[in-house]
Subunit: 216 residues, 2 copies
């Protein structure tokens, strides 16, 4: 919540975030998830930040661009993390454990459960997000195929298990982060026929700690 | 699509279904899933059925009641099926396989992917649906606890795996029914540490065939 030096902000900012963009995303995330995307106007978002609607349009051309930025926050850090992990380890079981745990932790982080927006019909048309989400799904599947030794239907399930934290968080808003993420990673490997032992789990956890960016 | 005797219908009905209620639900399901719940008016639903708005209100008091009926169609048949299965078999592994496969098949059936509506903020307030969905989740969890021999986090995952068919169907609209349902049931047991053999799978499949109501 600290202001950056040289960038004075309202002392009584209505929203967390050190920049207007962060504050707009926080307000829009809350309103989209709790009220709905369609019924939320850019005017309502600007009001919730405490800025004028014209200032909002200085940062985002329209409501869909705000939605895309929020959706990207649910996949881009995980995609970059997954790429770093797959470059740094040879055992696909360890890599898949780490990718799953890191991605699940990302979906569990942040004050708003942004994954709730995935199934909106309005999201079908946001092509950039779908491209990046398919890339993330492809990293998972490639690792799973290596683990199983061939491409089967179940190779698509680890990333789906990760995404179950979205619905779990709806039903249980205080769902704890790291333990849950690790348990999902265990399950992702069990689906592929790998029984996770403590050594595999420790190696995966070390990768998560090494490669996940610290929260800013 | 046959009219019931004594209940003449328009010969050129715009919607599948032998009753006005079925036709309203079909039209509303399509519009909610493809256009969005908020932007769909009861007028638009009536137009898509080819009836007057006043006739629609004869069957449903408001748009939320239509939504609840659609949501119930995704859980009530599975809940009734799950209860029949758990009464009829002693091995919790076989029962859980059957409950999972039957429920996944139900979510994969029907022309509209109604599970997409689960995460809408508007659904948070539909208490009756949540009661029935929690009952279904509880049947899964009780079986999983029996399989594992204790209550652990992963006992909550089989029903979440079933619900992943919703997102899978979004990404792959032609997702095939029975094979996918069986593979999800295999995965649900693998998450609990059970490696499914052909005998267990055959016993589960027999339960599904015995207890799932034939489509009407």
């Amino acid at each position: 919540m600290m202001s950056r030096p040289g960038r004075p902000r309202h002392r009584d900012a209505l929203r967390p975030g050190s920049t207007a963009v962060e504050q707009i995303l926080d307000a829009a995330g809350e309103l989209f998830v709790t009220q709905g995307f369609t019924v939320t106007s850019t005017r309502a978002i600007a009001d919730a930040v405490g800025i004028r609607q014209a200032s909002l349009y200085h940062h985002f051309p329209n409501k869909e661009a705000i939605l895309e930025a929020l959706l990207d926050a649910t996949v881009v850090p995980s995609l970059e993390f997954a790429r770093r992990v797959t470059r740094s380890v040879n055992d696909p079981r360890v890599a898949l454990w780490a990718v799953t745990a890191g991605d699940a932790a990302n979906l569990l982080s942040g004050p708003w459960n942004l994954g709730r927006l995935y199934l909106l019909p309005e999201v079908d048309g946001i092509e950039g997000f779908h491209v990046r989400r398919r890339e993330l799904h492809a990293v998972y599947r490639e690792l799973a195929v290596h683990v199983v030794g061939g491409d089967e239907f179940r190779c698509g399930l680890p990333v789906r298990l990760t995404e179950t934290v979205i619905a779990q968080r709806v039903d249980q808003p205080d769902l704890a982060g790291d333990d849950v993420a690790g348990a999902i990673a265990d399950a992702a490997l069990r689906v592929l026929g790998v029984d996770v032992d403590e050594a595999l789990r420790a190696a995966g956890r070390a990768l998560v700690e090494q490669h996940v960016p610290s929260p800013t």
